[in-house]
């Protein structure tokens, strides 16, 4: 039989699966309930109820064995929403059990590489978003930004922007996931969101956007034009919500 573990879509749910499936030799896959595809005859579905205590035990154990950075790494892998992330994490945890802290030196091991690669991809998108999130000043002085990242990023960027714009109210809207981080001036929540704050941009807002674009144009050294380098630094897929590229394509 091929056992398929299904969890509720939370990190704690995924870790509960790892906990329950630890000794299961027939485990085939760990899936979030939204990803659950049709089941064939050989597959045996196990629905796992999230158990925060089991999940916390794993998190604590990882911290003790390998430290905070590995904890963060596994969490980032979860946030990539990669279809195989469940099994990657389980296999990494088993390796950690076997090798202890040394697991981090096994850089050419497939399981270690998968984890490192996905977490690095996630981290670099996070870093890019720190710079590429673009707020517009909407009605009532609320800062509103739209993003469509490859990975789930709200949880990791919200604390950063809460610190940076702690004297403002802001919303960062992930259009790809219909979720938003909403900050009320003292704390943020992450919630489902279908709003749109950009119905009528104020004239002040538009004039600052224009100033930004003209400024970037003025800053360009024409003798050094290098669009390939620009494309490498600002990949096309990231340009959709960048004021300077968005408005240009509108005109």
């Amino acid at each position: 039989m091929l056992n398929i573990y299904i969890y509720d879509g939370t990190y704690h749910g995924l870790l509960t699966c790892c906990f329950d499936a630890w000794k299961d030799k027939d485990i085939y896959s760990i899936r979030s309930k939204e990803e659950n595809k049709s089941v064939n005859l050989l597959e045996n579905v196990v629905y796992v109820e999230t158990d925060n205590e089991k999940a916390e035990r794993i998190i604590k154990w990882v911290g003790k064995e390998a430290g905070y950075e590995v904890q963060r790494k596994l969490y980032r892998v979860f946030l990539t929403e990669h279809p195989d992330r469940g099994m990657y994490i389980l296999r990494y945890l088993k390796l950690l059990d076997k090798l202890g802290r040394n697991v981090e030196n096994h850089l050419y091991d497939d399981d270690v590489r998968n984890i490192n690669k996905l977490s690095r991809m996630h981290a670099s998108e996070t870093h890019r978003l720190y710079g590429f999130v673009r707020f517009e000043v909407a009605g009532n002085n609320i800062l509103y930004a739209r993003i469509e990242p490859d990975f789930n990023q709200l949880e990791v960027i919200a604390p950063y922007f809460a610190d940076r714009y702690n004297s403002h109210l802001w919303i960062i809207h992930d259009l790809a996931r219909n979720m938003a981080a909403i900050f009320n001036g003292s704390e943020y929540i992450i919630t489902e969101y279908h709003g749109n704050m950009l119905d009528n941009e104020s004239r002040t807002e538009i004039s600052f956007q224009k100033m930004w674009i003209e400024y970037l144009n003025a800053l360009t050294i024409k003798e050094r034009l290098n669009l390939d380098l620009q494309k490498q630094k600002v990949p096309l897929k990231t340009r959709k919500h960048l004021t300077e590229f968005k408005l240009k394509s509108k005109n």
């Binding site: 050419y108 690095r120 930004w212 290098n226």
Partner: protein, 448 residues
């Protein structure tokens, strides 16, 4: 508030600032939530916000306070005798622009430079007022990089330095002879005196010893600001992000050797955080200036690469040059060049060589070297393992052995290596002004 006049000034004074290569917003970690009502924070690794069509990073709002210059430096677009449109920002205009750009997350902060308006002191006073407005009235906690105008009163430099995160004085021309020829009103002494003052003050704050400050009266009859904030986030008050400078390359016949020796001294003796190079873009037709078909971007790239080797790879500037040539080899990068001239030190066995030796292999950077040291603790490394770990062998393959063997089909001799390395003529993006390494380090740290 926003109007055509502001836009006009932004266009002129943004364009006038574009030849300054510095874009770093790094070196300071400061939480924004440490002060009620403040706007902004600062992250040690620096953050890029956009990239212009020339591929250069935009991190700070880089503008001049004014381009209305009394000097007549031949290489500079803002020289007095050049017929360009002039403009001067009021302190409030810059503060407003910074604030509005910052809260839209266009920028990390402000980079404020200026042409010399009437006198260095006068210029520096106006710049100080801009910074004061931003820090005090707008409660701005983002990054500020300010230029010290050479020859300005140390009191004014002191004042600016307490409001800013980083300060820089541009040397621009790497030798006194070049300065005399092209920038007769700039004096080597006033440039280096300002730089020395800044590095002295940074050192003082670091060591906790007050050497200079005690002897200073308050500037211009005001009380000296202790710092612009309170609390532990401002434990060092004078330019916590350190000092940087810039050199123009290709406008004079100063050699790469001269430039790198100067660079080395600036890093080692003045504790500079960064030395930037700016490829000369023809700005005038003065007979004392060279005529160039295009800016010497490759030369600039090689210099950055070489400076990288000095700062992070344990090289000395003298190692980077062939006895017969005071300039860097344009055929391949400085590390390859050094390796080819020192083939007797190669091939290096990756399973045995220490970290510092690994770092000297062409194509192996700090990240790959660290990976190798880490992975070989748990098993011996072959070429396959290296590839799987993401170590790029394109250049390294000529200089290493794995378990005692060279890569198949690689001949270990100067001619073969030279021919293959210089074959690589693929147009590559030229190194930009970004702090690339700190970003990678940061990502490897895995934290957010």
């Amino acid at each position: 508030m926003p109007n055509n006049e502001l836009l006009r000034k932004l266009n002129i004074l943004g364009a006038a600032a574009k030849y300054d290569a510095s874009c770093a917003s790094s070196g300071v970690d400061r939480r924004g939530s440490s002060k009620q009502g403040a706007l902004g924070n600062s992250v040690a690794c620096g953050i890029c916000h956009s990239f212009t069509p020339d591929g250069r990073c935009v991190s700070l709002l880089k503008v001049l306070q004014s381009n209305d210059c009394v000097y007549d430096c031949k290489y500079c677009v803002n020289r007095r005798t050049n017929d360009v449109e002039r403009a001067t920002f009021t302190p409030r205009e810059i503060a407003t622009l910074t604030y509005e750009f910052y809260r839209r997350n266009y920028i990390e902060g402000l980079f404020l430079s200026s042409a010399v308006i009437m006198s260095p002191d006068n210029t520096m006073e106006i710049m100080c007022e801009t910074l004061r407005l931003l820090r005090q009235e707008f409660s701005f906690y983002g990054y500020i990089h300010v230029k010290a105008i050479p020859g300005a009163d140390p009191l004014l430099i002191e004042k600016a330095g307490r409001l800013a995160d980083r300060m820089s004085v541009n040397i621009e021309l790497p030798s006194e002879a070049s300065l005399t020829r092209l920038a007769p009103q700039k004096k080597k002494n006033s440039i280096f005196n300002s730089m020395r003052y800044i590095s002295g003050r940074i050192e003082e704050d670091k060591s906790g010893k007050l050497l200079l400050r005690d002897n200073l009266p308050a500037p211009l009859g005001e009380t000296m600001p202790k710092s612009y904030g309170t609390g532990s986030s401002f434990s060092r008050t004078f330019v916590p992000g350190g000092q940087s400078t810039q050199l123009i390359v290709g406008a004079t016949d100063d050699t790469d050797h001269d430039i790198l020796t100067l660079t080395e001294n600036l890093y080692n003796k003045m504790q500079l955080k960064r030395v930037y190079y700016s490829a000369y873009v023809p700005a005038g037709k003065d007979p004392r200036l060279p005529t160039l078909a295009e800016p010497p971007l490759l030369k600039e790239n090689r210099l950055y690469h070489a400076a990288w080797l000095l700062r992070l790879y344990g090289f000395q500037s003298s190692e980077l040059f062939d006895k017969n040539s005071p300039n860097l080899n344009l055929r391949y990068d400085p590390k390859c060049d050094w390796a080819v001239r020192n083939l007797d030190l190669f091939p290096v066995e990756v399973n045995k060589a220490d970290y510092d030796t690994l770092l000297r292999i062409p194509g192996i950077g700090t990240i790959s070297a660290r990976k190798i040291v880490s992975a070989r603790k748990v098993g011996s490394l072959g070429f396959e393992e290296l590839k799987e770990m993401g170590v790029v062998l394109k250049r390294a393959q000529y200089f290493i052995t794995c378990r005692g063997k060279m890569m198949p089909h690689i001949k270990f001799d100067t001619k073969f290596i030279d021919a293959n390395l210089s074959l690589d003529k693929r147009a590559k993006p030229i190194f930009s002004n970004c702090e690339k390494l700190s970003l990678l380090d940061y990502i490897n740290g895995g934290d957010y």
